[in-house]
Subunit: 169 residues, 2 copies
């Protein structure tokens, strides 16, 4: 199962390809798409969209997961984030699933608590993926965290499904 995790933003969009082989998770690649503030919104959104399309094709991505917004943000930054997120989701439109997870759900899944710091998330991402470093910049580490959250959620719902089938049998 090849998952694309996305931490969207108009300036910086982090992405990560996480693959599950049995019970082992590994990061195949990650990166950050940067856009230039002096360019038009259309150009910046196309940069995000086209770069993600390329990643999806190159790594034969099957499902994507994207971070949801923290609504404490002010309207202006929520709007900029919304536009970037729209471009990112559109890039994934042909995939069979684009899951959305709020930051608190991601932190709970990765660290076990919704109030985890960025450092804790980075450390747990490094451990879970068996890396010798924390992915940087933060956007990459966050993108890995989103992809891992999606894998954990899938595994959990598959286990519940199996338990239910056993109970019914």
């Amino acid at each position: 199962m090849v998952i694309l995790g996305i931490d969207p933003g108009l300036k910086h969009t982090g992405w990560a390809i996480v693959e599950a082989c049995g019970s082992v998770c590994q990061a195949r690649a990650y990166g950050c798409i940067d856009t230039v503030a002096r360019e038009s919104t259309a150009t910046r959104l196309a940069t995000i969209h086209d770069a993600l399309r390329e990643v999806i094709e190159r790594y034969a991505v099957q499902e994507a997961a994207i971070e949801d917004i923290y609504f404490g943000a002010n309207a202006r930054s929520a709007f900029a984030l919304g536009q970037a997120r729209g471009a990112a989701i559109l890039a994934c439109a042909d995939l069979r699933e684009v899951a959305e997870y709020p930051p608190a759900t991601i932190k709970s899944a990765i660290v076990g608590g919704g109030n985890a710091t960025k450092e804790q998330v980075g450390y747990m991402v490094q451990m879970a993926l068996g890396l010798d470093h924390v992915p940087t910049p933060d956007h990459c580490s966050d993108a890995c965290a989103v992809a891992l959250t999606h894998l954990y959620m899938r595994t959990k719902s598959e286990r519940i499904g199996r338990a239910e089938r056993r109970a019914c049998a």
Copy 2:
């Protein structure tokens, strides 16, 4: 000159094709793209994007203009609007220009004042385009207003350009 005006929104996106032939402006078509709230964000954004791509091809659109946000909106609605706007702008990415106008600029251009009501805008759109009715729903009338604003702005800057060239000659 064929202009596409867009009034973006996640639930309803208004669009209008306005054409300028010399000093006459006419509406060739307008419509509203509706999305269903129970569908995924990915599906809703793809609906907006694909419908606008079809309109752009069908009417051989040359330039687009899109309404900017009113930042008094709360973060949650700004975010939803941002996503829809991102999808709409991406649909226009191949055009030579995607102009962005804040609501106050549009109202000033159409009615002569930033505090105009929806009814005033609708009435002036009807007059400017020589229609026998106000385009409905409001999203269509607003999309016509954005397209007209872009035409007025283009004409104004062309006139200034000509005056400057005369002054330099």
